[in-house]
């Protein structure tokens, strides 16, 4: 299933790559320790290895950049990154202003209605969160959607998600230590659907 960053295929690929490379490395270590046959690699093997590493570096960089650029595209197109929050910005189905404070969240919807610790969206919607920190650095993470941001007071942070298809409530949590109430700084993302 897709996460906010469109990560599914890419994320799975990366994790598999990680486990494969790690497995090879651990296997090499164990072979070096326990295999009776000995092997002294010629120097060119390391050069070849470095070429392989460079290929992995290039691959990881390219894939990540592509995925992230695709994620950033709607933000850039809508102009919200330069202009900041603007009710007229049209690229998204819904815009919610988020005020993060010590210790909770306040969500302000487009009709200037405020709610504490719960935001309401419709299934599958593209939602833009314009996040403002009131006092210290806070975080904003929605595990079900797979997006994380941190933000400082004085700067607007823009994050968008595609709301989950299944109605229900999903956890929003703060991931940056923001004071004694940090562990309790959580909120609900409510996806409307079949009537509660």
């Amino acid at each position: 299933m897709e996460t906010a960053l469109g990560l599914t295929g890419y994320q799975a690929t990366m994790m598999i790559l990680v486990f494969a490379v790690l497995g090879l490395g651990i296997a090499a270590l164990f072979l070096a320790l326990f295999l009776p046959a000995r092997w002294r690699p010629p120097y060119w093997v390391e050069f070849a290895f470095v070429v392989l590493l460079l290929a992995l570096v290039w691959y990881g960089d390219r894939e990540s950049a592509e995925v992230f650029a695709a994620y950033q595209a709607p933000l850039e197109e809508s102009g919200v990154l330069e202009a900041g929050y603007d009710p007229a910005v049209g690229n998204f189905d819904r815009t919610i202003r988020v005020l993060a404070f010590q210790w909770g969240y306040a969500f302000v919807n487009e009709e200037d209605e405020i709610s504490r610790n719960a935001a309401v969206v419709k299934p599958g919607e593209r939602v833009l969160f314009s996040i403002f920190a009131n006092d210290v650095i806070h975080g904003f993470n929605i595990p079900a959607v797979g997006i994380t941001a941190e933000f400082d007071p004085g700067r607007e942070r823009n994050v968008w998600i595609r709301a989950p298809e299944k109605p229900g409530k999903y956890l929003i949590q703060c991931l940056n230590y923001c004071g004694v109430g940090h562990a309790q700084m959580k909120a609900w993302l409510v996806v409307e659907g079949a009537e509660t």
Partner: protein, 525 residues
Amino acid sequence: MASELDAVRMGEMPHWEPADVLGTMTLSNLLFSNDYRHIALKGILTSVVMLGLGGLMAMLFRTELALPDLQLIDARPYMSLMTLHGMLMVFGFIIPLVIALNYYMMPKVLGTGQLLLAGAAQWSYWTLILAAVALVIARPDFTWTFYPPMSLRVGGDLVWLGYVAIALVAVSEFLAGAVLMRNGWEAATRLGWGKLPLMGWGAISEGILLLGSTPILGLVGIVMLTDWLELTAMFDPARGGDVMTFMYMFWFYGHPAVYLPLMPAIAVLYTLLPRFLGRPVWSYWSAVIAFSLLTVLGFIVYPHHFQPAENVSGLLQRAAQLLTLAIFIPSTLHVFNWIASLWSDEIPRSARRAIPFKFLIASIFFLMLGGVTAYVNAQIATDSAFVHNTYFVPAHFHAMFAGFMANMAMAGIYFLYPYFTGRMYSQVLGNLHFWSWQIGIFTKVMMMYYLGYVYFPRWVVDYLDLPQWSGAQLALTGGAYLIGLGFIVFVVNMMWSASRGAKATDDPWAVDAEPGAGAAPVPAE
């Protein structure tokens, strides 16, 4: 390329004589002596105490986290425990310990016979003691990365001592960098760059890292203090400052900071491995290139620490991503070198038996584990998804700090033990320590990776009762307790064996090759 050259370069020749240096130390030696063995032992013992203290902090907060909805420790003391754990472990345990091991080993390996700038090493030690005292008195709860404005507002009258402690740590580390640099440089110019033992390359690289990064840490500590006193407002947005200034300044130190314990540990590894194997490492120049590359790259990858704070992913972020991905190349060169060294010929029985060798092998294992998984830490897309500030990050750095560096530090201590006590430690206790640590560290690290993947947040005193979180936390706590147990076994071993262990032979690490295996200590021309 004479084999004798390699034997010297790779530190293969036995350099030390077993002697009861520790037992014959007087209180006056402890406090004032500039003999490198006394300074190094002082550093080693103090760092072990710091390990105990940082570890105790961890045992306490791990107990709080073992189950959801345990309210044994309140939020503020919990964060004090965590802050002290982080700072004591990084600044008090691992960095000083691996540097102290280098202090002990450099004079013989580099051929100087003494530690140059021993006075600076002395000052470095006492400044660190002062920093530790200030830190404990301040009992700050602002996390080891003390991000403002939160860190300026945690309250408590003595929090400012925490900022002072940071500045003192910077001074202490700067002095240590001067010592390492001086010794490495002297050996390089005396022996020639192509003949410098790898420990010397490690010392120079570490010196560059320390001398280059610590001044800004000191500045950050001082500005935090003046911000707190309201003389300045550089980091506080409520008074016109900017948090990103802090981010750039702090992490300019903060990223090299993680290589500060890594470099000396690698230097020790390059010195120990040939000793145990009875042959040089697979490639000298590969190691030199790896040291140099890591030193250079170490200074320029730091934006990856605050990547999700930016709205845009522009050129700077892309460059940081690329360079961060590239920085695992030098570490991989090291690992390749070590595995190739192990594989090229027989591993002597004496090596397989030796406790320090076991710790060395375990450290290579964890360096791979922590390093390869960091492939997803480095990428912005995965970082913005499940990595940033979830348990995935502490999983990575515990695999590195505990899995690689702490293991390697233990290898160094066990290796030097007969040389500074004149006796051998108990093999049984050593094995017990080794296995409890590896099982404990592995459990801990793997549980942390899992928890990170399922979005467990950092810095929380309590957590929701979700099935995927609770079981893993309990297992994690179990792993932590096992590590604590291993530490106690280690202390018992060290103390008991110092007076009752078997007397050490002339060369306790003599290579015991199997007959006819072709593992001659000196390879044929």
